[in-house]
Amino acid sequence: MIELKNISKSFGDRKILNNINGVFQKGKPNLIIGASGTGKSVLLKCIVEIATPDEGSVFYDHRNFTEGDKDLKVEIRREIGMLFQGGALFDSKNVEENVKFPLDLLAKMPRDEKYDRVNLCLNRVGLQNANKKMPSELSGGMKKRVGIARAIVNSPKYLFCDEPNSGLDPQTSILIDELIRDITYDYDTTTVVVTHDMNSVMGIGENIMFLYKGLKLWEGNKDEIVNSGVKELDDFVFANKVMMAMRNK
C-alpha cells in the first residue's frame, strides 16, 4: 500500500501538482488518469522521488520514504519496478542485458537461474526472439515491452507503469493490461498505472485517481466513473465515441 499525503510540486512558478492525497492499494491495479500535460508523470516521479516533491510525503507500507534516510530509500527502491514513458532502456546494452540488469544488482542468484528468469519475463511480454537485439533496433512498442520485462524481473513489491500501452496496437495493449493485472494479482504487488486510455480504464480500473491541472478531482472505480457527476471527468471519459454510446443506452 502506498499513501500520498499533501504532495505539491512546482517547476519555477508553475504549480504542477497541488496538494495531492491518495491511497494506492495492494494487490490491485491503481490508475492515475488525466489529460496530457496534467502532471501524471510528474506525480509518478514524485512518488519514486526522481523529482523531489516541494511539500508532502509518500509512505510505502507505512514507511516514510520522503523523509527516510539513505538506507531506507535504497531498501525501498530495490523493491520498486518502474516502466518509464519512453522505455528508458540502457542503449549500450542489448535486450537480455537490460532485463537482467536489476537481477545483477542483487546478485544472489546463480547465472543460469538469472537467464531463466529473464527469458520467462521476455516470454510474458511476448518477446521471445529479441534477446540479442539492441534498443536502437526495436520499435517503440517493443521498447515498452522490454521496459515492462525489466520492471517485473525482480518481482517488485511496487510496480509503476507510465503509459504502458501508448503506442501499442489495440490487441497488444490489451495483452499488456492483462499482463499487468495478472502480475499484480499473482505477486500481490501495489501497482500504479498512468494512462489516458479509456480501454485500460474500463479493463483494469479498480481504483482510479483523476487528475486535472494538478488537482485530484475524483477517485473511484470503473463502475462509478460513468456517473461521477464531475464535469471535467465526463469530458475526459466521454471524449470516446464508444463510451458516449454506452452512456446513451
Binding site: 526522481i50 535504497v74 527502491r77 518509464f84 514513458q85 519512453g86 528508458a88 544488482l105 546478485a107
Partner: protein
C-alpha cells in the same frame, strides 16, 4: 558561480558508492577501452605531425652557423615534453573524449536512463561518472607518453630526410642536457588535465535538461569549459612547478 558549487557537490557524490568493487572494476575497464584504445590512432597521428612540424620550424629559426645543429632536437624535445604532448593533446582529448562523455551522459539523462538507475537504488553519479574519471586518469598519461614518443619520432623522420640536421645530431640533441624532472612535470600535468576533462564533461552531460538540442549544447559546453580550465591550470602548474 552556482555551477561551481554544484560541481563540487557533484564530485562529493561520486564517493557515496553503493555498488561492489567488481562492478566498478568492470565499468572502469570498459571505459578504458573506450577512451584509450579508440584514441590511440588520433593521438599518434597528431603527435607525429606536430613533432615533424616543430622540427622543421625550429630548424628554420635556428639557421645561424654558430648554433650547433643538435640544439634543434633539444628544443623539439622540450616543446614536446613540456607543452605539446600534455597540454595541446589535452585540448584534443577534450574535443574527442570530453564531448563524447558529455553526449553520452546527456542522452542518458534525457531518455530517462539515469532516472531508471536511480529508481533501482543505484547512485547514478558514482555508477556512471566514477569509472569515467578513473579510466581517464589511467589512460590519459599513457596517451601523453605515446604522444611524446610519436612527436620525437616525427622529428626523427624529418631529420632523416632533411639536409640541415642528421639523424645522429638529432639523437644527440634529444639526449643532451636532459632533465628527468620535465617528465615528472608532464605526467603531473597529464593527471590534472585528465581529471579536469573527465569531471567537467561528465558534470555538463549529467545535468543536461531538455532534449536532443540540449545534449549537443552540453557537449559543446563540456569542451569549451574544459579547454579554458586546462589553460588556466597549465599556467598555474608551470608557475608552481617550474618557477623556482
Amino acid at each position: 558561480m552556482k555551477d561551481f558549487g554544484k560541481y563540487f557537490i557533484f564530485l562529493g557524490n561520486l564517493f557515496v558508492n553503493r555498488e561492489s568493487f567488481r562492478t566498478y572494476y568492470r565499468l572502469t575497464i570498459e571505459e578504458c577501452v573506450l577512451i584509450g584504445i579508440n584514441s590511440i590512432m588520433l593521438f599518434a597521428l597528431v603527435s607525429t605531425f606536430m613533432g615533424a612540424v616543430t622540427t622543421v620550424q625550429t630548424a628554420f629559426n635556428l639557421i645561424a652557423p654558430y648554433i650547433p645543429r643538435y640544439v634543434i632536437s633539444q628544443v623539439v624535445r622540450e616543446m614536446a615534453v613540456l607543452e605539446l604532448a600534455p597540454t595541446i593533446m589535452a585540448i584534443i582529448y577534450a574535443g574527442k573524449v570530453g564531448s563524447s562523455m558529455a553526449g553520452n551522459l546527456g542522452t542518458m539523462r534525457i531518455t530517462e536512463q539515469i532516472d531508471a538507475l536511480e529508481v533501482m537504488g543505484i547512485n547514478s553519479t558514482s555508477y556512471l561518472v566514477l569509472p569515467k574519471i578513473i579510466a581517464s586518469l589511467l589512460m590519459y598519461p599513457l596517451l601523453v607518453i605515446l604522444s611524446i614518443v610519436c612527436a620525437l619520432a616525427g622529428g626523427y623522420i624529418v631529420a632523416f630526410f632533411a639536409s640541415y640536421i642528421t639523424p645522429t645530431d638529432y639523437i644527440y640533441g634529444l639526449r643532451y642536457a636532459f632533465n628527468p624532472f620535465t617528465i615528472t612535470f608532464a605526467l603531473t600535468k597529464s593527471l590534472v588535465f585528465a581529471f579536469i576533462v573527465s569531471s567537467i564533461s561528465s558534470f555538463r552531460g549529467y545535468y543536461t535538461e531538455g532534449g536532443a538540442l540540449e545534449v549537443g549544447q552540453s557537449s559543446t559546453q563540456a569542451v569549451t569549459t574544459s579547454v579554458i580550465v586546462i589553460l588556466i591550470a597549465d599556467y598555474l602548474l608551470a608557475q608552481l612547478m617550474l618557477a623556482a
